[in-house]
């Protein structure tokens, strides 16, 4: 017994073939999953339909909120009154859940125009305009409150209404979906 060395099986060519076959099957299978998962993503037509849209601001009266769609998503364009701008600016930013000064949410010199996504950041409902404690928006679904800058001030929404990419083509025209090139 003592002189017999314990036999350690050397890997054979068959072991190699098992591992190689298993690896090929695993990698092949995983690779095949990729096109199926990718087919679930927004398709080419949807992406193409997501090109920037132009909106004429001239007919939007002061105090009015207009709803437009870009990429199937609702966008609010709010022509704010001086009072609403003042209310949005006179807030202690540090006290906010998602701290952002009003000036960071509008374009320079265009404080009267607020452009935000129109779906509540909680679960996507459409908040009602000119309502709620801060006269900004109030979401009827789960009670989120937004101010006249579209910032969350109460309820379950975690963040402010996001700002879509947009740029002013002229004083009365915005292009939504396109960042300013300047």
């Amino acid at each position: 017994m003592a002189e017999t060395t314990t036999h350690v099986a050397e890997p054979t060519r068959r072991d190699f073939l098992y591992i190689a076959t298993g690896a090929a099957a695993a990698i092949g299978g995983a690779t095949l999953v990729w096109p199926f998962v990718q087919s679930l993503a927004p398709d080419a037509a949807t992406v193409a339909a997501g090109a920037p849209v132009e909106v004429d601001l001239a007919p939007i009266a002061e105090g009015q909120i207009v709803k437009v769609f870009w990429r199937g998503k609702l966008i609010f364009i709010r022509h704010r009154t001086p009072d609403e701008i003042k209310a949005a600016a006179d807030v202690n930013v540090a006290s906010l859940r998602d701290p952002q000064p009003d000036s960071a949410r509008v374009k320079d010199g265009k404080a009267q125009w607020l452009v935000v996504y129109g779906n509540c950041t909680h679960l996507g409902c459409v908040p009602l305009g000119n309502s709620g404690e801060y006269n900004g928006w109030f979401c009827p679904c789960h009670g989120s409150v937004f101010d006249t800058s579209g910032r969350v001030r109460g309820g379950p929404a975690p963040i402010n209404l996001p700002i879509p990419p947009y740029a002013f083509a002229s004083d009365t025209k915005v292009i939504i979906g396109q960042e300013a090139t300047a």
């Binding site: 998962v37 679930l40 949807t46 199937g72 979401c139 009827p140 679904c141 975690p158």
Partner: protein, 426 residues
């Protein structure tokens, strides 16, 4: 099923020829004819059969509806109205399917709470029970996607709210949501894939149901005493006893079902869903179907998006751990005087949560939802583990027979159970 070797002997020559090639008749015989059933089962044990019937009914009505329905965002709403007005008996098939979903959930909730009451989830039935939880989750997914298909206001906004739950996942949430939608918002690609999955999932449910029944036939059914079958006198054969009883229960359930279909077919629906989907306007109150309300109340009770989503999913996933959270050695609540009280409080809390889910999320409704949510989880995490140690259960009967017939007195006179049915020799 393998536990009960078949004693089936085909009578005809063809039967013997076929049985030796595919022993399916023997499988049916051992599973649904000779299979021993506890003799003390109540009508609460007929809901498995009712659920099996409802699954078939939903698949049959659904296959017919799919022949007349158009899964396209521009045409879906019109095609549902086409089913209601033009298709011969389309109104009946659609009302059967829509109300059938609610009946399915009524039956499954009774089935689940029967399981909770009699401790059916405990060893040796844990796998059977977990398969049931999986079926319930698949049912919820199927019902949710089915409700989206008519493409009314509740369909659209229900889909928006529920798919947005996944955006709460850190980092990858937004990507997952766009993959669910197939776009930048709920739209035609979303409707197409929900239709495809709504057709697929019932067949996956049928597959898990087959495993559920298979797992049931290994230990056999639990019963109101919670003690196992110890002798043939504790049991009766599945056919005719359980077969006839199940059929009778299904017929009674169908009368209940028919009342909804023929008298109040829209009672459980929402008027808003007869308004075509409009992405620019949210209905004043987004309310899910009644069977989701307790979970919806838990979602809204947590004043944090990710926390609410986690709590809602945890409310179901926690069921999976119940066989190990419940430390009591006694299965049936009938012999657990303390737990019996906690059980009914828990039932009450679930019903109150359901009611709160239908109320707007404001004022004291939110506070009440939070209290009920805390209690809901405490039931699983505190009551179930602690009670097993502190509770003194009532004495259990020696056998199922004894619980039914009373303790047989006297020595040599008549052996216990001698007056039992001759069939019950198991």
């Amino acid at each position: 099923m393998s536990q009960h070797p078949t004693t089936y002997v085909p009578k005809s020559a063809f039967g013997r020829w076929f049985e030796s090639r595919l022993p399916v008749a023997g499988l049916v015989h051992s599973s649904f004819v000779a299979f021993p059933v506890p003799r003390n089962l109540t009508y609460f044990w007929t809901f498995g059969a009712i659920l099996a019937f409802m699954l078939v009914a939903q698949i049959v009505t659904g296959v017919f509806l799919a022949m007349y329905y158009t899964p396209n965002a521009d045409l879906a709403f019109q095609s549902v109205e086409h089913i209601m007005r033009d298709v011969n008996y389309g109104w009946l098939i659609r009302y059967l399917h829509a109300n059938g979903a609610s009946m399915f959930f009524i039956a499954v909730y009774i089935h689940i709470f029967r399981n909770f009451y009699y401790g059916s989830y405990k060893a040796p039935r844990e796998v059977l029970y977990i398969l049931g939880v999986i079926i319930f989750i698949l049912m919820m997914a199927t019902a949710f996607m089915g409700y989206v298909l008519p493409w009314g206001q509740m369909s659209f906004w229900g889909a928006t709210v529920i798919t947005n739950l996944f955006s709460a996942i850190p980092l990858v949430g937004e990507t997952i949501v766009s993959y669910l939608w197939g776009g930048y918002s709920v739209g035609n690609p979303t409707l197409n894939r929900f239709f495809s999955l709504h057709y697929l999932l019932p067949f996956m449910i049928a597959g898990v149901v087959a495993l559920h029944i298979w797992a049931l036939h290994v230990p056999g059914q639990n019963n109101p005493t919670g003690i196992p079958i110890k002798s043939g006198k504790d049991a009766v054969p599945f056919t005719p006893y359980a077969t006839i009883k199940d059929i009778f229960a299904v017929v009674v359930f169908l009368i209940f079902f028919a009342y909804w279909v023929f008298y109040i077919p829209n009672y459980l629906g929402h008027a808003d869903n007869y308004i075509p989907a409009n992405p620019a306007v949210t209905p004043a109150h987004i309310v899910p179907e009644w069977y989701f309300l307790p979970f919806y109340a838990i979602l809204r009770a947590i004043p944090d998006k990710l926390g609410g989503v986690i709590a809602m999913f945890a409310a179901i996933v926690i069921w999976v751990f119940m066989p190990w959270l419940d430390t009591s050695k006694v299965r049936s609540t009938a012999y657990r005087p303390l737990y019996k009280q906690f059980f009914w409080v828990f039932v009450g809390v679930c019903l109150v949560l359901g009611w709160l889910g239908s109320r707007p999320a404001e004022g004291w409704y939110v506070i009440a939802s939070q209290i009920c949510t805390v209690y809901y989880f405490a039931h699983f995490l505190i009551v179930l583990p602690v009670l097993g140690f502190v509770e003194r259960p009532l004495p259990l009967p020696n056998s199922i027979l004894e619980s039914v017939m009373g303790v047989q007195k006297g020595g040599a006179g008549m052996p216990a159970g001698a007056n039992a049915e001759p069939q019950s020799k198991g």
